[in-house]
């Protein structure tokens, strides 16, 4: 105990928790200043003054905000995310399913894109400034530059409408086999892979190239090692920290940033769930989603930092 690495890791996690608490305050304040009011939005154009007053009282909207914040936080700490105002569903239960779907999509996108990005990065470095490098860089730069909805629509047009190879609807539901689910999500996975690939690949390439300037790489080269071995075995391990960072950033995007892709492919994930409830001013759900997204984001960043700490030889072997 007391190893400096351990202290650093514990500090990093503690900082993450403090950050999460701060975010919870921000989320709560943010949801209070949304325009309109929940009761009105639930009832929509058909609201009458009497039904509005009834609903407001029923929803507890007449309590002061501070009271509501601490009531909410207390419940969340006990694992109770509350009930949706609009339809009375248990949020944890409803969200669990949606989060599961989002993670399912993110998992397959990550499983394909992360190794692919690193492999392509290694190849690009190996053939630096020659045609493989140029092709990889150009293609990934193009896919990362196109907005994901446009990429989605282009793929739907060609692969679903024109040639009918893959389904344009990615709706998944209970009772589907794994194979059916994978077939259903093939297009959104493809879009996500294309969107995140460029970022990760270019970061890998840049980080390795940076390391390639080092004296020990020159030594390895002078020893006569094959170029790919030099890159993969000597350069890459020293470029892990920045690569992990960008990988985590993209994983976070795959979980919290895929609203647009979910809408285009009608995928029942967290993004659609959140959008529906924002539109209806279903504050408890919006708060719960915000908190989960923040936790995912902060969690993945902690992982990235911890990996960076562990991957740093100077920290692992302090003098």
């Amino acid at each position: 105990m007391g190893h400096p690495v351990l202290i650093l890791v514990v500090q990093r996690i503690a900082l993450g928790l403090v950050l999460l608490f701060a975010v919870s305050v921000l989320i709560f304040v943010g949801t209070q200043i949304l325009p309109g009011d929940v009761a009105q939005s639930i009832l929509g154009q058909s609201a009458t003054p009497v039904s509005l007053a009834n609903l407001r009282a029923e929803l507890g909207l007449n309590d002061p905000p501070v009271t509501r914040y601490f009531n909410w936080l207390g419940a969340v700490l006990q694992g109770d995310l509350g009930r949706a105002l609009t339809n009375g569903q248990d949020i944890a239960e409803a969200m669990g399913k949606r989060l599961g779907n989002t993670l399912f999509l993110a998992f397959w996108a990550a499983v394909i894109s992360v190794p692919l990005a690193i492999l392509l990065g290694l190849i690009a470095v190996r053939y630096r400034d020659r045609w493989p490098d140029k092709v990889i860089s150009t293609v990934t730069l193009a896919t990362v530059s196109v907005p994901e909805f446009l990429l989605g629509y282009i793929l739907v047009y060609f692969l679903s409408v024109k040639f009918r190879l893959l389904p344009s609807l990615a709706t998944v539901y209970d009772g589907m086999s794994l194979g059916e689910k994978l077939y259903a999500i093939s297009l959104p996975v493809l879009v996500l892979v294309l969107v995140v690939l460029g970022h990760m690949m270019r970061m890998t390439r840049a980080a390795i190239l940076n390391v390639m300037q080092s004296a020990y790489i020159e030594t390895a080269e002078l020893k006569g090692l094959r170029p790919f071995a030099v890159i993969a075995r000597h350069a890459f391990p020293n470029a892990v920290a920045p690569v992990v960072n960008v990988v985590m950033l993209n994983l976070a995007y795959l979980v919290v940033g895929v609203v647009v892709v979910e809408v285009v492919f009608v995928y029942p994930g967290m993004g659609q769930y959140l959008v529906d409830h924002v539109a209806k001013r279903d504050v408890p759900v919006v708060q719960a989603c915000g908190l989960v997204f923040a936790a995912v984001y902060i969690g993945l960043n902690i992982v990235a930092d911890v990996v960076s700490i562990l991957a740093n030889p100077r920290l692992r072997h302090p003098k």
């Binding site: 949304l34 929509g44 409408v161 009918r164 529906d276 539109a279």
Partner: protein
């Protein structure tokens, strides 16, 4: 069975003189008569329906927050879902007649204050239990409870008593209403076991399809109800509804063959979609209309001349062409059109006139300060563009219209019914009385033009209980003329419902009641 059929059809034939004459007769003589056409309609079909297959529908207008409670249904998907598993006691046929569903017949006393509906016998709910008159009574009581959040609460307000009387349900009204069957056809009023009091979300009814699974905002699955009391419908083995809110995703799902029917086609793409192979676009003009509403009790809109100036300054033809791409009809500053029974065709169509607009504007003595119109696309699709067109045509008459674009969020709470001049949308109602009394009576909660005119209020009440068809039509003519001239509504257009289906579907018929054949697309079509 054949005897029954012959009897029913002969009665229907007798009743097809006119909807109103027929209703009048039942009102005048208190005769219980069949009010039905569904068997006739199926007999009249050229093609015999085929059975089997799974129908997949891609529908926009559903959310994760939806429930199965028919009383809370307020958007297209919950509406369509209700049509799969439930029945109302009566419904409005595609040609505007009242047709029997769970009630076999209806009759009223002379002044239309007591209505008796004979409830069909031997109908089973999906859980196997037999539907009773008590279930029907309990259903109506649930929706008329003052604490109910039901969307049908407003409709039920004129009903003072609902009771069972043998095989009948009897409604007593505070004032005569010749249109009661139309009100009771409201889609919220699905008959549920025990009235749905204990389990409003169960999705158990008497409809053509039984609920298999429901995931709000994602997918609903149904299978054929083998015990369906109406054997002329429900031709598919199974029906699936996929919620697809993104318009592009919806059309591509149809084009790629993943669904066979979609709703809510954007008028701007309808013609393009119609050109793609294997797809048929179906549009039908309905009662929904797009409006700009002025609060008649707020300056400067409390000035009749200014209201008339603005009414003359809008180019309705251009709006229908550019905003609806031709998929709609021209409005005439009243909330009703020829799709309504007893519509008065003699009311002159108001045309775009720079001269008249300028004349009235001058007469209003307005100080040339900008007239602010609040608008967001949530009011109706293309509302912002429509406002821009309005601004340009008004400018020609020297009227300084200023467009203020506001967020979609909170539009219905912060702008509509609050600000004195904004864009809005009305879905229409089955009968004129309901449209006028919902939005133009001075006492109505949804009187969104804040129009108060004792003469109009009296006329609406008079028309409601008037049982003579001609007299009633004349009253509606007077009502329309008053609102046309004096009201706060600028109604440039009535929008079409635009749906589409694949070539594999047969039996599609025009139904102006609502999109997707009034919700009966899955009941009445079949696999070609």
């Amino acid at each position: 069975m054949t005897d029954d059929l012959a009897r029913l059809i002969s009665r229907i034939d007798a009743s097809r003189i006119s909807r109103r004459a027929f209703l009048n007769r039942t009102v005048a003589f208190g005769v219980a008569a069949a009010v039905g056409t569904s068997l006739l309609a199926s007999g009249a079909r050229a093609q015999e329906p085929k059975k089997g297959g799974t129908l997949k529908m891609g529908l926009g207008g559903g959310e994760t927050t939806d429930t199965m409670d028919p009383g809370l249904a307020d958007s297209p998907v919950p509406f369509s879902v209700g049509r799969q598993w439930g029945d109302t006691i009566v419904d409005v046929s595609p040609d505007g007649e009242i047709e029997p569903r769970l009630a076999e017949s209806a009759s009223a006393n002379e002044d239309g204050t007591v209505w008796t509906f004979k409830i069909r016998e031997g109908v089973r709910f999906h859980d196997g239990s037999v539907m009773t008159v008590d279930d029907v009574v309990a259903t109506f009581r649930r929706h008329s409870d003052a604490n109910s959040k039901s969307g049908a609460l407003g409709i039920m307000q004129g009903i003072t008593d609902i009771r069972a009387d043998g095989g009948n349900v009897v409604f007593t009204l505070s004032a005569g209403n010749a249109d009661l069957p139309y009100l009771l056809s409201d889609y919220h009023l699905i008959v549920q076991p025990g009235g749905g009091v204990d389990a409003p979300n169960a999705g158990i009814g008497t409809g053509p399809y039984r609920l298999v699974s429901a995931e709000a905002g994602v997918r609903y699955a149904f299978e054929k109800n083998p015990d369906d009391w109406d054997t002329t419908r429900g031709h598919y083995d199974a029906v699936e509804i996929f919620v697809i809110n993104d318009a592009t995703a919806r059309t591509s799902a149809l084009q790629s063959g993943q669904v066979q029917m979609i709703n809510r086609i954007d008028p701007k793409v309808a013609k393009l979609l119609a050109r793609s192979p294997g797809v048929q676009v179906k549009n039908v003009s309905g009662r929904g209309h797009y409006v700009f509403i002025m609060h008649t009790n707020t300056a400067p809109f409390d000035n009749k001349d200014l209201r008339l100036a603005l009414k003359h300054a809008i180019d309705r033809q251009e709006m229908v062409e550019k905003i609806l791409d031709g998929f709609g009809g021209i409005g005439n500053d009243i909330p009703v059109n020829a799709a309504y029974p007893l519509f008065d065709e003699t009311l002159p169509q108001r045309a775009f006139s720079v001269e008249k607009a300028a004349e009235h504007y001058k007469a209003s003595g307005h100080d040339d300060s900008p007239i602010v119109l609040l608008v967001a696309d949530t009011a109706f699709p293309g509302a912002v563009d429509a406002a821009a067109l309005f601004q340009q045509s008004a400018a020609k008459a020297g009227i300084p219209l200023e467009i203020q674009r506001v967020p979609d969020d909170g539009y219905w709470s912060d702008v509509w019914n609050v600000k004195p001049f904004c864009a809005s949308y009305w879905g229409g109602r089955p009968v004129q009385d309901q449209m006028w009394s919902t939005a133009y009576m001075s006492t109505a909660d949804w009187n969104d033009t804040k129009y108060s005119n004792p003469e109009l209020d009296a006329l609406i009440l008079e028309a409601r209980s008037e049982t003579d068809e001609e007299a009633r039509k004349a009253l509606y003519g007077k009502i329309a003329a008053i609102v046309h001239e004096d009201g706060g509504t600028i109604c440039p257009m009535f929008n079409d419902f635009i749906d589409a289906h694949s070539d594999g579907i047969a039996g599609w018929i025009e139904d102006a009641n609502y999109e997707m054949m009034g919700g009966y697309a899955s009941s009445k079509t079949w696999m070609a």
